[in-house]
Amino acid sequence: MYERIREKLGILADAAKYDVSCSSSGSNRKNENKGIGDAEGTGICHTYTEDGRCVSLLKILLTNHCIFDCAFCVSRRSNDIKRAAFSVEEVVELTMNFYRRNYIEGLFLSSGIFKNADYTMERLVRIVKKLRQEERFNGYIHLKTIPGASDELLREAGLYADRMSINLEMPTENGLKLLAPEKSHAEVKKPLKYIQNNITQFESEKALIKSVPKFVPAGQSTQIVVGATAESDKEIMHTANAFYQNFSLKRVYYSGYIPISNDARLPVIGSQPPLIRENRLYQADWLMRFYGFKVQEILNDLHPNLEADVDPKLSWALRNLDQFPVDINTADYFMILRVPGIGVASALKIVQARKFGRLYENHLRKLGIAFRKARHFIRFADSPMLLKEYEAGHIKGIILSESKSKYQANPNNQLSLF
């Protein structure tokens, strides 16, 4: 009797997993009606898959039936696979029962497009509405925007969802046209803009009238598939940057293409997904969002691709040695942030601690910076005298030889190494 629901979950979770977004952060939904759940703050990863990705939401498709034929997608019309569809009640039951057992932070609901966009979107909206109104569920809901759905449905969806997203898929219009002729970036921009405008409008009304409901409080995100088409890292990050700016996106996700098709336009099945490249893109993304770097500083015509062997922050520093060394005891916070081996938390500690006295090597080591890496770029109270200035290639050589295991062929898809 369990078999039917197990089979559906198997198919529809499997088809949903290529959307890498797992975040359940950025919302501010409280459990005010003594219902169930809340979605505040940073969200929790309740477990990690064996590939090391955070599991915080029940990520499923409503159905994997689809009228489109996007070459990079397992659910494409022409793919000969098992199809399934959940009922509205099944999704609600699964979500509630997983949530009550502390398995998840909420639901990430997406769908293949069956019949037409509005028909699909209407079903999705029905599910989230039922969760919010009948189950009094205040957990996190990430809802996919179905391209081509009507404004009315999008607006209604926004009243129940914490986050909405719609994927760019390929970094450029040409790439997309090649693999998904039925789709376009324009189709993605339209709903992004519509929802962005509504978010702004709801926020300004809420400032005046408290009772105005929430509207997509955790904002919007998108995903770019990496390595399916031939774009450079520069094209990818410049696109990402433009979308951050034009649509106030909260996140851009980069998803290394996993070969799932024998289509001649795509990498063959069995080839390695570009995981190191994906990791480097996330690091570049962090530099833009948290470290005050401009995209042009990281990627430009001279340097159109990120280096595989060193992270983009180190790479930038080595190209700009004239800006170093940075004096830890006097330099501006933003310059300390740019030192390879120093993260946001330790940069803050440094500027706090130096108010009490000059900082020495032993302080810096204890404050949690990657000292061996950073030492090439900083001066501190007991810095050794510099006999000669090293050039970039030499420094890179030292750093690489000291941190071999970390940089070598470890397909690492999460952010950890600055």
């Binding site: 003594k34 929790i44 477990t47 990690y48 599991v55 997983f98």
Partner: protein, 257 residues
């Protein structure tokens, strides 16, 4: 140097701080009773836990420290680590003696230690919030037991009662033999006469469970497998995020035993 021995309670620790001033002690070594190895040459000073003295010290600290550092102080205490007690005593004296703002001096060994220890305790609290798996019992209570590295139970009520406001739940610490029970109104500390053992498989006997429990455990295990991308498999990263000692909590990991 003077040796102070206290009873291991927070009140006792704060009283010890008070006594440092009262007795005009300079360097003080603080140990809790259970860690104390009696020494014929140094009987040490026995700190008598005292509510009033403890309160006065805490108030004094609160005047100097913001909410965040008050919490860090408490979290470090919950680490139950002998070194932490010493650092807490030194830290309290340092904060009281210095002008406000001294907590920003991360180059100071005790400030750094409190910041790091509280971070460890915080991480353990966060792991419990992540890794607890409730099982629904036949009488409608969601039950989970844990064996955390630190005594984090006192840090958990807010999170769980805000989130699971409309269901009754129990979180039980098997190591320290007490738990939290939320009865839809409030959360209370409880002790169970016969708490189940922490089996390697974190499961209550099936006759105590709700009839649907087996289904949802199974569906969760299925989901965990389906959402994995085989081509990206990276067990090193997996184990870094979910250290093996926590697997016993996780129903999705049950088939690993």
């Amino acid at each position: 140097m003077e040796l102070y021995i206290f009873d291991g309670s927070l009140e006792g620790l704060l009283t010890a701080v008070f006594e440092c001033y009262q007795r005009k002690s300079r360097v003080v070594k603080l140990v809790s009773e259970i860690h104390h190895v009696p020494d014929v040459f140094d009987a040490g000073f026995r700190v008598d836990s005292d509510r009033e003295k403890g309160k006065r010290v805490w108030k004094g600290l609160c005047r100097k420290l913001g909410k965040e550092w008050q919490l860090r102080f408490y979290k470090s205490f919950l680490s139950e680590q002998p070194e932490a007690f010493q650092h807490l005593l030194n830290f309290a004296r340092y904060i009281i003696d210095q002008p406000t703002g001294a907590w920003e001096n991360f180059a100071h060994p005790d400030v750094l230690a409190i910041s790091q220890t509280s971070q460890k305790v915080h991480r353990e609290k966060h792991r419990m919030e992540a890794f607890i798996r409730f099982q629904k019992t036949a009488d409608d209570i969601y039950y989970a037991h844990i064996e955390p590295d630190f005594d984090v139970l006192p840090l958990l009520p807010d999170h769980f009662q805000n989130r699971y406001a409309d269901q009754r739940w129990i979180i039980y610490d098997l190591k320290r033999k007490y738990g939290l029970y939320y009865d839809l109104e409030k959360t209370e500390e409880i002790e169970l006469d016969s708490a189940p053992q922490m089996s390697i498989v974190n499961a209550l006997p099936s006759d105590l469970l709700d009839s649907q429990e087996a289904l949802y455990t199974l569906l969760w295990q299925d989901y965990f497998k389906s959402t994995n991308i085989q081509a990206r498999k990276n067990m090193r990263l997996h184990v870094r995020h979910v250290p093996r000692r926590y697997w016993k909590y996780l129903s999705e990991k049950q088939d690993q035993f």
